[in-house]
């Protein structure tokens, strides 16, 4: 079990030149009445393995949708690599291919094959004619197959996506995101419904890819234990607010907001209500 180290130095998180994601007092709403997020401040350094933990309905998925420009805040500012995320913003649209997004619902195209689903991640690199005739360059097909063996999908190339098990579908969505060669990976509860062994397998895989590609990973989890195990930073969201952010370095936990919690207390506070 990790030990807490008292540090009350919140400025530590703010003084850094290499912030890939910045959120400033972000509010957002689906129905212009209730706010799903209320005044979120985040600042994430390049290469971080960032975890977001919180109860169901606390706003975790919404936070990720804001980061990839599929939603826009009603108040506050967001910068991804100094660009405001919004699908209608030309400059951001050009960098969307560098953001791998694995939605909670996975978003696979049911009636095409596993290989085609994964190759969708390579579409921004194709010419108009190549994509019209589904003529993927041999190098892209090889890359897709390499990623497939990495995530344990070898031999399932020609399976239609609707014929896969839940875990297999998840792997396809992960492979599609990796196929993008992303610099940022947004993953929404991709291991929550998997058994322990598979969950750890997938987490190791992403941790591995993260180190190799200097990826910034932002992963939503239900399970505080898993978050503490893999992340350098964990943010806890409750009812649309960030109520805690801790840094994890080896066996040390640095609490940026309160500075007076220990690991057991954190686990106790968030293990119950983070379970479904």
């Amino acid at each position: 079990m990790k030990q807490i180290q008292m540090t009350q130095n919140p400025s530590f998180s703010l003084i850094s030149t290499n912030k890939i994601i910045q959120m400033n007092n972000v509010w957002t709403s689906y129905d212009s009445k209730n706010f799903a997020l209320e005044g979120i401040n985040l600042s994430i350094s390049r290469g971080t393995n960032y975890a977001i933990v919180g109860q169901s309905g606390s706003g975790k998925s919404t936070l990720l949708k804001l980061m990839n420009g599929m939603m826009i805040p009603s108040k506050g500012t967001i910068k991804i690599d100094y660009v405001t995320p919004n699908i209608n913003n030309k400059k951001f649209k050009k960098m969307m291919h560098t953001i791998g997004y694995i939605p909670q619902s996975l978003g696979l195209v049911k009636n095409i094959t596993v290989l085609e689903n994964i190759l969708i991640g390579a579409l921004p690199r194709l010419t108009k004619l190549q994509s019209l005739f589904k003529k993927f360059p041999e190098s892209e097909i090889q890359e897709a197959k390499r990623i497939m063996s990495l995530v344990g999908l070898s031999g399932k190339e020609d399976r239609k996506a609707y014929m896969l098990s839940g875990g297999e579908k998840r792997r396809v969505a992960i492979a599609r995101a990796l196929m993008q060669k992303p610099t940022i990976l947004l993953a929404d509860e991709i291991v929550s419904e998997l058994d322990h062994v598979t969950a750890r397998e997938i987490m190791n895989l992403i941790a591995d890819a993260q180190k190799r590609m200097n990826l910034t990973a932002i992963m939503v989890h239900h399970d505080m234990q898993l978050a503490l195990e893999y992340a350098n930073r964990v943010a806890v969201i409750k009812e649309g607010r960030k109520i805690l952010e801790i840094g994890v370095e080896g066996d040390t936990i640095v609490d940026f907001q309160t500075g007076d919690l220990n690991t057991e207390e954190i686990m106790e506070m968030y293990s119950d209500d983070t379970k479904k």
């Binding site: 990839n68 420009g69 599929m70 699908i87 649209k93 050009k94 960098m95 969307m96 291919h97 953001i99 997004y101 939605p103 619902s105 996975l106 978003g107 696979l108 195209v109 049911k110 009636n111 095409i112 085609e116 969708i120 991640g121 579409l123 921004p124 194709l126 108009k128 994509s131 019209l132 589904k134 239609k160 609707y162 014929m163 969505a173 599609r176 993008q180």
Partner: protein, 261 residues
């Protein structure tokens, strides 16, 4: 049943009676006319069998017209449906396209046939053009509705990769709506065979052309033979399209096997 329901049913029945009076729809006349059917049936048996090959050939021509009309009409409808889908376009694109399609649909195929007879003259080509127009109007509507019901999850997920509109259509919209399109084409072909059978009434070719001519010269028996051929053909197509749908379409949509006895 509540009293309120009774009142509504009463009103509907009263309306039917009033409307029947207005349009001279008298059930007694219908009963009186029934024996006339016997005359037609009797005449049918007197018709020489040599007319049957002609009837079959006319039916074959009709089916070909419906086939061309369905395929060409669907090919034109497909791009229009992409433009009319609200989840793919801005209002400035889909609103005018929808208005155009609605205008096309207000004409029944027989009116299109009259228009094309005036344009290109009597004959089967006018009939084919009428079926094309009718098919465009309907398949485009059915198809844009199908596109709008595509699950938004894969659309959003693929959009968030930063793909172009064309890529989205090619890799999500078409695969996810293809089974609908196939089923609509089948339905449309089935329907077009029936429609084409009557376009002959206005001189636009097909088996209806024979039927109307025999009726004009009071040769009801011959007309009835031709109508019988239409009936049998339509029943057959109906049966075949159910089979095809079960075998290919339902299965591909839900990934399950349909149990057939």
């Amino acid at each position: 049943m509540t009293p309120k329901n009774n009142i509504i049913i009463g009103i509907i029945i009263a309306l039917v009676v009033v409307a029947s009076y207005n349009v001279d729809a008298n059930p007694l006349e219908f009963a009186k006319g029934l024996p006339n059917l016997a005359i037609v049936a009797e005449e049918m048996f007197l018709v020489e069998p040599k007319y049957i090959p002609t009837a079959l050939w006319a039916m074959f021509e009709t089916i070909q017209m419906a086939f061309i009309g369905t395929v060409v009409g669907t090919a034109i409808a497909l791009p229009l449906s992409m433009l009319a889908a609200r989840n793919l376009n801005s209002k400035y694109v889909y609103a005018p396209v929808r208005a155009l399609l609605a205008a096309i649909r207000t004409f029944p195929s027989i009116l299109w046939a009259i228009l094309f007879v005036i344009m290109v003259g009597l004959g089967t080509f006018a009939g084919v053009l009428a079926i094309v127009m009718y098919t465009v109007g309907f398949v485009a509507k059915l198809q844009y509705e199908a596109i709008e019901t595509i699950d938004s999850d894969p659309m959003d997920a693929v959009n968030s990769i930063g793909v172009s509109k064309w890529q989205l259509i090619r890799y999500v919209v078409i695969p996810e709506s293809a089974s609908h399109l196939l089923s609509q084409m089948l339905y449309m072909f089935d329907y077009n065979v029936r429609q084409t059978s009557i376009l002959g009434l206005v001189g636009a070719g097909g088996i209806g052309f024979y039927i109307i001519n025999y009726i004009k010269f009071f040769e009801y028996g011959k007309a009835a033979i031709f109508m019988l051929v239409v009936l049998v053909t339509v029943l057959f197509i109906d049966w075949a399209s159910v089979k095809i749908r079960d075998k290919y379409i339902i299965k591909s949509q839900h990934g399950m096997k349909v149990i057939t006895k």
